[in-house]
């Protein structure tokens, strides 16, 4: 398989990681829910970054969405530039040739035949079955011919838990299919653990009535990030937050195959959507820009395929660092 390497830069406040994918150690998996902001716009953008990185790296894509046609979502992929490796320009669309070169799988519930929901997976049984089938058919679980060039499958699952999936966890405190979402995430985690794949899941946290469910969703993931947008809160007028569009909370840092992962100095992050990029910054602090030689990068992260929802490339401009989210 081709190695996907990202330059690693470690700053005073944010750890960016080098991820080297090698065949022999590549069994890792990531399920990372990005809590959706009030209007879903930012989390959808992060999902697109994630998928764009897959296109540029030549990975296979799997996209499931109940609201928008997944084919349309992939069409609006971000154009890449080569400034720092993989950076994306939000104002442009990706070259269609590049998109067509990538093998894609989609799942759109209105177009799928629904079987009777007999298991504890509830409305997600079809989705899990579809993912399992793709993983097995394309040989991501090690099945298939020995000579086949191995690749990585990137799964983007949009807005799980929303009513459009047939789930009532977003409009009932005691939902009938109360454990469908968590059971699905558990099974997804299991599938990813036995295959060369990584998944990014977005969840509309602001709609889920029972907050305990959200806690369980976070614990079932390897990495979890929450986006708190200011657009509908009183923080919008607070001068402290005038430079940003929202806050980014790191709820969970993965530590797969290791006791502990490299911990960031500062988890106080905010984001801003600019015309051409989505940037994540350490809030109101001066950042020192330090590069580490490759050997010092945390071993545990090197072993994993794509552990974090985002890894960031840092670029210093004066005394402020901008982090360009490149997905993983």
């Amino acid at each position: 398989m081709h190695p996907a390497t990202l330059q690693s830069l470690t700053t005073h406040n944010c750890v960016c990681v080098r991820v080297c994918v090698c065949v022999c150690v590549c069994v890792c998996v990531c399920v990372s829910p990005a809590e959706e902001d009030q209007n879903d716009s930012y989390s959808r953008l992060l999902l697109q970054y994630f998928l764009a990185e897959g296109v540029v790296s030549g990975h296979q894509l799997y996209l499931a969405s109940a609201r928008d046609d997944p084919d349309d979502m992939i069409q609006t992929e971000l154009a890449s530039s080569s400034r720092f490796g993989h950076c994306y320009d939000l104002s442009k669309r990706m070259d269609t040739q590049m998109l067509q070169a990538v093998q894609r799988h989609t799942f759109y519930p209105p177009q799928e035949k629904t079987d009777e929901q007999t298991s504890s997976l509830g409305p997600y049984a079809g989705l899990l079955k579809s993912i399992q089938t793709v993983i097995h058919r394309e040989g991501f679980d090690g099945s298939g011919s020995e000579g086949k060039v191995r690749n990585v499958l990137r799964l983007g699952l949009h807005s799980l838990g929303s009513a459009l999936w047939g789930d009532d966890v977003c409009f009932s405190e005691s939902p009938a299919s109360g454990h469908a979402l968590t059971t699905f995430l558990y099974a997804l985690r299991a599938l990813l653990r036995s295959s060369l794949s990584v998944a990014m899941v977005t969840v509309p946290a602001h709609l889920i009535q029972n907050k305990a469910v959200l806690g369980r969703v976070v614990k079932l993931s390897d990495a979890a990030v929450a986006l708190e947008s200011f657009s509908s809160s009183e923080r919008q007028t607070n001068p402290l937050y005038s430079d940003y569009h929202g806050l980014l909370h790191i709820r969970q840092v993965p530590h797969l195959n290791c006791l502990m992962c490299e911990a960031p100095d500062n988890k106080d992050l905010a984001f801003k959507l600019r015309r051409k990029q989505f940037s994540i910054e350490v809030r109101n602090t001066t950042v020192y820009f330090v590069t580490l030689p490759p050997d010092d990068v945390c071993v545990c992260v090197c072993v994993c395929v794509c552990v974090c929802v985002f890894y960031c490339l840092g670029a210093c401009e004066g005394d402020r660092c901008e982090y360009l989210v490149t997905g993983c």
């Binding site: 899990l128 558990y186 985690r189 036995s194 911990a263």
Partner: protein
């Protein structure tokens, strides 16, 4: 295993208390590093270990244990370690695949009213044959490690069923076989998780059953890179033996260090 934790608990692979039910829990932190401690500790102590891997795969524990100096694959081959790969087997069972694991141990994924009788019988079969009729080596007391119990709540198992399961395991392993049992329960903030099917409820009930409790929490002052959290150790004995102590900790690549609050190297 972590030498500093051994000295705090006054135990070592050569000399440890038998018949213990150790409860690990966390809130706003991750106590799974303690699972690795106990797994390597009891394997070093030459105990027969049954490990219920409900949230991670075998390879994860194997890689970490390697760094801590214990070879899990070898332990499994020798018959010292019985590992239930419950996580990896779950999609097949949930989707009703024909090729899936048919054992009763995973019944909690199958039946309309999930229960853990099959899982208990798996544990009993793994640990009741102490030494084994055909084993060339005789092992020490049996040990059950569960990582983790709270995920069963996410799968629809009731708190009552989980408590029945732990009660049966404790009666069999700790009282009858004089072995030990270690279980991890992961909790959220109490304001979000108060009802009878919550992990907080489970934790409260299990705290009464256990003989030693290690509660891991994040720092009340917020995130700190050099101090990952604090551990409250509660020896639940009678009279003078009932005591609590708090330590702060930091997890490294190959272990963890524990220190009295305020004495972290980053602070001093």
């Amino acid at each position: 295993m972590f030498p500093e934790l051994n000295s705090i608990l006054s135990s070592s692979p050569e000399n440890f208390t038998e018949g213990e039910f150790i409860l690990l829990s966390d809130r706003q932190a991750d106590a799974s590093f303690l699972i690795h401690h106990y797994l390597t500790f009891y394997l070093r102590a030459r105990c027969r270990v049954c490990f219920l891997g409900l949230v991670q795969s075998f390879s994860h524990y194997s890689v970490v244990s390697q760094r801590l100096g214990v070879n899990l694959t070898q332990a499994k081959e020798k018959g010292q370690l019985v590992f239930l790969e419950a996580l990896k087997a779950s999609p097949g069972v949930l989707l009703g695949d024909e090729s899936s694991d048919k054992t009763a141990a995973l019944d909690y994924l199958r039946s309309p009213c999930p229960e853990l009788r099959g899982l208990y019988e798996f544990v009993w079969n793994s640990l009741s044959r102490a030494g084994g009729e055909d084993a060339a080596e005789s092992w020490g007391p049996p040990v059950l490690i569960i990582d983790d119990l709270s995920v069963l709540l996410s799968l629809g198992v009731s708190a009552g069923a989980i408590l029945d399961f732990t009660h049966y395991c404790q009666a069999t392993i700790c009282s009858q076989l004089q072995g030990s049992m270690i279980a991890l329960v992961r909790c959220d903030d109490e304001e979000y998780d108060e009802d009878e099917e919550s992990s907080n409820y489970l934790l409260k009930a299990l705290s009464h059953q256990c003989s030693l409790s290690l509660r891991v929490e994040g720092l009340s002052t917020g995130y700190c890179r050099d101090i990952h959290g604090q551990v409250e150790i509660w020896w639940r004995g009678r009279g003078m033996k009932n005591q609590r102590k708090i330590f702060q900790y930091k997890v490294h690549d190959k272990g963890a260090s524990f220190f009295a609050p305020g004495t972290s190297r980053a602070v001093l």
